[in-house]
């Protein structure tokens, strides 16, 4: 299925690892030029850029802290300058720092909220400024089923992920008249490095929750993201699509 994404220019935050890198590469496969940001993983970011370039597309890695409002604006401007235009913004960068609330420090709360929720605000806003004036664009925000259902020991993470959904729906209302679609992909458990850090008994419990008896691959999340950014999904906005094998129903 040709998604008609050839020549589009994309930003994927947190594109050096996990779901983000899979999304970045998938866009390159669809014919897009892709810029990713990274904070610490210079080597991984370089590898993703190489892979994008191997596919014959322009790749760009920008060192930027997603929690920084200024970094977001600078990155969008850099991409517009380097690629000539921005068509798609995918916010994916996120962290978790779990703990039950009575043991959660203020720092633990603030850090997760700042990176996850404020980070999405920063990049959504920077993209909105561009998309509004060009009367077109796509935004996909990667949330989590835990933002929809809540999760033990994740008050901070779940709040940030739920906040991202509310942000996305509000922004869909603000940008609809400018021909901009804003959607959310909410994965369940995905086989990434983030998941590798989870104790085996929790993974088993999560596996049991799914209807299909396995976890998603990062590529399966990426497939939905590129679809949502295509003209095939032009009438979908303000929507949350779970990619969780039936884990949360």
């Amino acid at each position: 299925m040709d998604l008609g994404l050839e020549g589009k220019n994309v930003i994927v935050t947190g594109g050096s690892l996990g779901i983000g890198s899979a999304i970045a590469v998938e866009f390159a496969r669809e014919g897009c030029n892709v810029a990713i940001n990274y904070r610490r993983h210079d080597t991984e970011a370089k590898k993703v850029v190489e892979e994008i370039e191997k596919l014959g597309r322009k790749g760009l890695a920008v060192k930027a802290d997603v929690a920084s409002h200024d970094d977001a604006e600078n990155m969008v401007q850099t991409v517009v300058r380097e690629f000539g235009r921005l068509d798609i913004m995918v916010c994916n960068a996120g962290i978790n720092w779990d703990g039950v609330i009575w043991k959660m420090t203020e720092e633990q709360w603030d850090t997760v909220i700042n990176v996850n929720l404020k980070g999405y605000f920063n990049y959504n806003k920077a993209a909105a400024l561009v998309f509004k004036d060009q009367k077109g664009g796509k935004i996909v925000n990667i949330s989590s089923i835990n933002g929809m259902r809540g999760k033990f020991a994740q008050t901070n993470y779940a709040a940030s992920k739920g906040g991202e959904i509310a942000l996305s729906k509000s922004l869909a209302k603000e940008l609809g008249k400018f021909n901009v679609n804003v959607n959310v992909v909410a994965p369940g458990m995905v086989m990434t490095e983030m998941a590798n850090a989870i104790p085996p008994e929790f993974l088993t419990k999560a596996m049991d929750e799914t209807a299909v008896g396995r976890f998603a691959t990062p590529e399966e999340c990426a497939d939905v993201v590129v679809f949502l950014c295509s003209d095939r999904a032009r009438h979908i906005t303000g929507e949350v699509i779970k990619v969780d094998g039936g884990q949360y129903m």
Binding site: Q134, K135, G136, G176, K177, F178, N179
Partner: protein
Amino acid sequence: MFKWFGKVNYTPYTKVTDFAQYLKDGRLMGTRCKKCQATSFPPRADCEACMSDEFEFIEMSGKAQLHTFTKIVAAPTGFEDVAPYIVGVVDLNEGGRALAWFGETIDEDEIEIGMDLQIVPQIFEDLEDIKVYYSLEKPGTTWAKTDSS
């Protein structure tokens, strides 16, 4: 949806309803009679020259000259929050006239009758409802166009 046109809209239903959709997409449209080719701006569905009711939309360049203007201080209902504002009547290069607000690219003291202007499609960005209009801007002002329908 013609109800999108104007800060306050008094005529939500019209045969030229697509005008507002085009304007939202950054396109300023006039009409042309399919039978006798007479063109009109503002648009009209029925040709007063040959009586035909078959028309098509044609995109206008929006290039125009200022015919007259005024700064409205005492505003009617629905416009108190934007008063005072300056409205101008312009003669379009392609024929017809338009009445519109002066936009941000022109300072009040630059305004003079006869000056060249560009009509630019606009969206009220800060309103929840979809509302569109056009403004009078400096010649050479550019804007994005799209095809949403």
